[in-house]
Symmetry: C2
Subunit: 310 residues, 2 copies
C-alpha cells in the first residue's frame, strides 16, 4: 500500500432551479485537491492549506477535510496517523459546494489510502459530517453528487435516501461565479417558511418534468422544467444582474438557468459543449458591463466522482 494519496473532488450545483434541497449535480471543474500522507505518530494533522486566503482552520477537528478523515478512522477503528494538505482550487462562498468538495475528497482519499474497505455509498456519512462543520447543518445536496458523480436526488434525509438520476450525454453546464458575497445563512434566512399551495404544485410539476426529461434524454422537457417559482424570486434579489444574466443565457440557447446552491454563482444547462461555451461568454459580458469580476466554468455533467491524481 502506498504511503500517500492525492485526490480531486468536484464542485457541484445544488437545488438546480425547481429542485430546492433535493437535487444536485457534479461538474468536472472546478474542485478541490487533498493530499493525505501516512505518518508514524498518531492523530490527524493539517500541515498546509492553500487557496483559502487563510480563512480555514488548521485544527483537524474544525476543518471539513479533517472531520471527514477523523470520522472515517473512528468508524473503522484505526489509529493510523494522517497528515493532510488541502489545495482549495475553487472560490469560497460561491454556491458551488466548496466545503462539500473538500469533505468528499478527504473521505474518498482516506478510504483509498487505507485499502478501500468501504463502498462509495458507505463514505457518504463521513463527507456529510465534514460538511456539517462548514455549514452548521448536515446537507447532502452538494456532498452526494460530488461523491457519486452525475445528477443526484436526495429523496429524504430521515432516513437518508439518495438516488442517482441518469443524464443525457450531451448535457453541459455553464457556470458563472460573480465575485460578490452572498452568505449562505442570509440566503437561507430570507426564504419564506410558508408558501402558496399553488406555487408548490407548479414546483413539483417541474421537478417531475426535470427528472423525466433527464431520464428520457428529452432536452426540451428539461428546459421547460428548469423553472423555480419559489426560491429564485426571493434569492435572486441578492445577486445583481441575475435577471439579465438569465435572459442572456436563454437567448444564447441555454435550456434553462438558475442560482447554483444559495448563490451567487449562476448555472445554465445546455445541449452540447459549443452552446455551453457561448452561454458562458454571454453571461460573462453581463457581469463585465456591471463591473463585477467573475470566473466562468464550462463542463459536461461529471460522471465519475472523485479521482486519484498521480
Amino acid at each position: 500500500m502506498s504511503e500517500s494519496i492525492r485526490v480531486f473532488a468536484s464542485a457541484t450545483v445544488a437545488n438546480v432551479a425547481c429542485g430546492f434541497d433535493i437535487l444536485g449535480f457534479a461538474v468536472n471543474a472546478p474542485g478541490d485537491e487533498v493530499i493525505l500522507k501516512k505518518k508514524n505518530t498518531p492523530g490527524v494533522t493539517i500541515s498546509q492549506i492553500t487557496g483559502d486566503g487563510g480563512r480555514l482552520s488548521l485544527n483537524s477537528q474544525e476543518n471539513t477535510v479533517g472531520v471527514a478523515v477523523l470520522q472515517y478512522l473512528n468508524k473503522i477503528g484505526s489509529d493510523q496517523g494522517i497528515d493532510i494538505t488541502l489545495h482549495k482550487k475553487m472560490p469560497f462562498g460561491s454556491g458551488l459546494g466548496s466545503s462539500a468538495a473538500s469533505a468528499v475528497a478527504g473521505a474518498f482519499a482516506i478510504n483509498e489510502l487505507l485499502g478501500g474497505s468501504l463502498s462509495t455509498e458507505e463514505l457518504l456519512p463521513f463527507a456529510i459530517e465534514g460538511e456539517r462543520i462548514a455549514c452548521g447543518s448536515a446537507h447532502a445536496d452538494n456532498v452526494a453528487p460530488s461523491l457519486f458523480g452525475g445528477f443526484v436526488l436526495i429523496r429524504s434525509y430521515q432516513p437518508l435516501d439518495v438516488v442517482r438520476i441518469n443524464t443525457p450525454p450531451e448535457l453541459y453546464c455553464a457556470i458563472i461565479h460573480p465575485q460578490i458575497e452572498v452568505p449562505t445563512k442570509e440566503a437561507r434566512n430570507i426564504l419564506k417558511k410558508n408558501i402558496r399551495m399553488e406555487d408548490a404544485i407548479t414546483q413539483w410539476g417541474n421537478v417531475a418534468g426535470l427528472i423525466a426529461g433527464l431520464m428520457q434524454s428529452d432536452y426540451a422537457l428539461i428546459g421547460r422544467s428548469l423553472q423555480d417559482v419559489i426560491v429564485e424570486p426571493v434569492r435572486s434579489i441578492l445577486i445583481p444582474g441575475f435577471e439579465k444574466v438569465k435572459q442572456a443565457s436563454l437567448q444564447t440557447g441555454a435550456l434553462g438557468c438558475g442560482i447554483s446552491g444559495s448563490g451567487p454563482s449562476i448555472f445554465s444547462l445546455c445541449r452540447g459543449q459549443e452552446t455551453a461555451v457561448q452561454v458562458g461568454k454571454a453571461k460573462q459580458q453581463i457581469f463585465e458591463q456591471l463591473g463585477i469580476g467573475c470566473e466562468v466554468y464550462t463542463s459536461q455533467i461529471n460522471q465519475q466522482g472523485p479521482v486519484i491524481l498521480e
Copy 2:
C-alpha cells in the same frame, strides 16, 4: 366508414399520493362505454344513459360526452348529426375519474367514427372541455391518463404540457371504492391555501423519487416515494377507516397506498397481480368490518388508452 362505434375508456387514479394535481394513471377496469351513431338530422343528441341513476343530463350541452363530441365537430367544421348512448359502468363521485372516462370515450369515439383525422394528443382539449362541464374546472389529471393510457405527468397547465412516464411491467393496482359520498368541492375546499416550505420539500422529493422509481423499474423506490404529507393528512379525515385500510394494505405487501383523486376510493400500488389481489381483499375486510359497502378493482396499469369494442 361505419355508421356507429362503441368505445370503452378507463377509470383513472389522479394525484397518486405525492403528485397532487400533476400525476394520474389509468387502470383496465372499471370504465365507461359510449356508443355514437351517425344520424341524418344535424345536431348532437343523447338518446340513452344507463348506470347513472338518472343523475346525468340528456342535454348534450350539459353532458360531458355531449360537450366533447360537440367541441370536436365544431373544431373540424363538421355538421354530421350524432346520437349518443352512454353506459356508466363505474361508480359516480368515487374519485376514479368517472366524468373523465366518459369525456375521453366521447372524444376518442367521434374521431374514430369520422375517420381519425386528429392524433390522440389533439383530442385532449375536447376531453378536457367535456370534463369541465362535470367538474367546473379544466383538470387534466384524469382525462390525460384515460386518453393516453399509462402513467401521465401534467407538468403545466399554461401551457398544457403532458408527459408520459414509463412504468414497470409488474406494477398492479388494487382500488377499493367505499360507498360513501365525498363531494369533490368539499374535498377541495378543505385544502390549505398555504403550506409549510418544509412539507413542500418533502413532497417534491417524493415526487422526484416516484418518477425515478417508475422509470427505473425500482419497486422499492416507488414504495418509499408514495407518501403524501400535504393533502392526505387533510382529506383522509373525510374517509372513515382510511388509516386502517392503508395499514392493512401495506401489511399485505402493497408498495404504497393513498387516496384516489379526491376520494373516497383508495388505491394501492403493488408488485405483481397476486399481491394486488390479496391487498384488495385486505382492504375489503376493513370496510366490511365498518359496515360500509364497497367494490374492489384489481388491474395492471392500463397501457393502451380507450379501445373500440365490437
